[in-house]
Amino acid sequence: MLFLIPALIGFTAFFAWPTVRGVALSFTEFNLLRPPEWIGLDNYVAIANDPVFWNSLAVTSEYVLINIGVQTAAALVLAVLLQRFTRSMVVRGVVLLPYLIANVVVALVWFWLADYNLGLINSTLDAVGFDRVGFFGNEALAMPTIALINVWRHLGYTTLLIFAGLQAIPRDVYEAAEVDGAGEARTFFGITLPLLRPVLAFVLVITLVGAFQIFDTIAVTTAGGPVNATRAITYYIYERAFDRFDFGYASAMSVILMLILGAVALIQLRVLRANDSDLER
């Protein structure tokens, strides 16, 4: 079983053990210097009474709703356009490009484009006579701005997944619809969307679980501010652990986040019946 030994070491040491340890740490007070001290459910009680935690859940949800909503709708449109008009690998490559570039790089480019004083967007607004907009400095706008930046980054990836799903829909279904005289809109809502459901379910689960863990973009642009407007859950976990050395508290929040992610994924798979396709009926 020589083939399996390195992978088993990796699995045990860096997946299984940390999972067990993470849950255990959530019941302790631990600051890295002294050994962890068992405090039962105290962390969870404190978290339940922590307004910053509840706020982080709220702003994370805001991010997820905007990001996933806009991204999925735009990707659906773009995938249909690709399917109808071009098979070009170059176009697909261009669209995918932002997804392959680091979050940090993407965040910095947009931070620059949307800069209040010198950025292109505000300079243009100014030149045509509009007021400048503080995209990152305004509490109401900071999270939507970050969500849209990541729509730009992930659009191509989501599009390619949906595009592949469109390719798998048999042609004769469309031909039958055409013979029956169904128009564009009717064909899309009556055929394309329902047949795409399993792929959409898969895409939604993957992108949602990722979106809940938003960190990089926040870390290099707003660092949680202004006030708590972009202090998303992962960023708050990071701060509790590495700025305040509160590893027990941070671990407990990680456990909660993991449970939320698990629940979200399960509900989605249920609701969207991801595993059975309408084609087979």
């Binding site: 699995f11 860096f14 932002p98 940090v104 620059w112 292109l120 990089d216």
Partner: protein
């Protein structure tokens, strides 16, 4: 982003992934495109024009920020004030690159609007290359071996062990982060390349899962012939089975390299000294050190460009494989 945002491997059609699929998938692709050509004819002229305009907007909207990054990196910081709207570099200069690569003297850097802070992207670039190559080679080699054990070899308890392995796919990256940090700290490996690489170097459940699909698709009679010829398990692995899956191994290696090249949070925690700082982390530090009132935008964009260019090159060379692999991950 987490490990979970990445493409999932194909479940049923291993042959269609990657760039070098077996010949059997080719005719299907031709049939499909012919069908779409027919689709073109039924589309009205107006909607065709609208469609192409929409696609054009998307392509320009995708590429423009990259152009703006290039345009800024080759301009001076003074030009940001004088010509904020110019589409071309203003006062063309390589000064920003000299600054972030640590070639320019401190006084030059200050004169050009740099922070004068000691920032050395040359070193970070080298660090990133070393760490990412280390992780990719180790992870893909070990994961290939594991995928072979799960996909080709027959042994008792195989499917149970594999099912347990798959659970690792479901654990969000953020969850193992804190305990792994503590473990690496206990091992005394903070701020070392090995510390950054360690959690990823032995395997990725995703890569094992991905490659196992392709090993399952390998024709067993070839392997059985090799056994009859007296080849050992190891020999069959690296002379026959692995070469058959080579295109997929290369594709996944590229994807993993890009993933670790872009990773930020883990190297931010574990590589905090100058000699263990990776490029993405260095960019974050550079951004936080740049003066609030007059940021060194040219320097920032030059640094960002250094982090992006290797990916541009990979996409130009391997774009087809990357696209094929992502697309095949969506259809079940």
């Amino acid at each position: 982003m987490s490990i979970l945002t990445r493409p999932r491997p194909p479940a049923t059609d291993p042959a269609s992934a990657g760039d070098g699929p077996p010949a059997t998938t080719r005719p299907r692709a031709t049939v499909r495109s012919r069908a779409t050509d027919e689709g073109f004819r039924t589309t009205s002229r107006r909607s065709r024009i609208f469609g192409w305009i929409a696609l054009g907007v998307v392509v320009v909207g995708t590429l423009f920020p990259f152009w703006w990054m290039i345009r800024t990196a080759f301009s001076t910081n003074n030009a940001m004030f004088s010509d904020p709207l110019s589409l071309l570099p203003v006062e063309f200069t390589l000064g920003a690159f000299e600054r972030v690569l640590g070639i320019a003297s401190t006084s030059d850097a200050l004169a050009e609007g740099g922070s004068g802070a000691d920032i050395n992207f040359g070193l970070y670039l080298l660090n990133s290359i070393i760490v990412c190559v280390l992780i990719t080679v180790g992870q893909v080699a070990f994961s290939t071996a594991a995928a072979y054990a799960f996909g080709v070899l027959r042994w008792r308890g195989r499917d149970t062990v594999f099912a347990i392995f798959l659970v690792a796919l479901l654990v969000p990256a953020i969850f193992t982060l804190l305990p792994n940090f503590i473990l690496v700290k206990e091992l005394g490996l903070l701020n070392t390349f090995l510390g950054i690489a360690l959690p990823s170097i032995f395997m990725s459940p995703f890569v094992v899962f991905f490659l196992r699909q392709f090993f399952l698709g390998v024709n067993r009679s070839i392997l059985e012939a090799a056994v009859i010829d007296g080849a050992g398990t190891w020999r069959i692995f690296y002379r026959i089975a692995a070469p058959l899956v080579a295109p997929q191994i290369v594709t996944i290696a590229i994807l993993q390299f890009i993933f670790y090249w872009n990773d930020y949070l883990w190297p931010l925690l574990v590589g905090q000294t100058e000699n263990s700082t990776l490029l993405t982390v260095g960019l974050g530090i550079f951004k936080s050190q740049t003066p609030q009132g007059s940021p060194d935008w040219a320097g920032l964009m030059a640094g960002a460009l250094l982090a992006a260019v290797p990916i541009f090159i990979l996409v130009v060379i391997f774009g087809r494989r990357i696209i094929g692999s992502i697309q095949s991950s969506g259809v079940k």
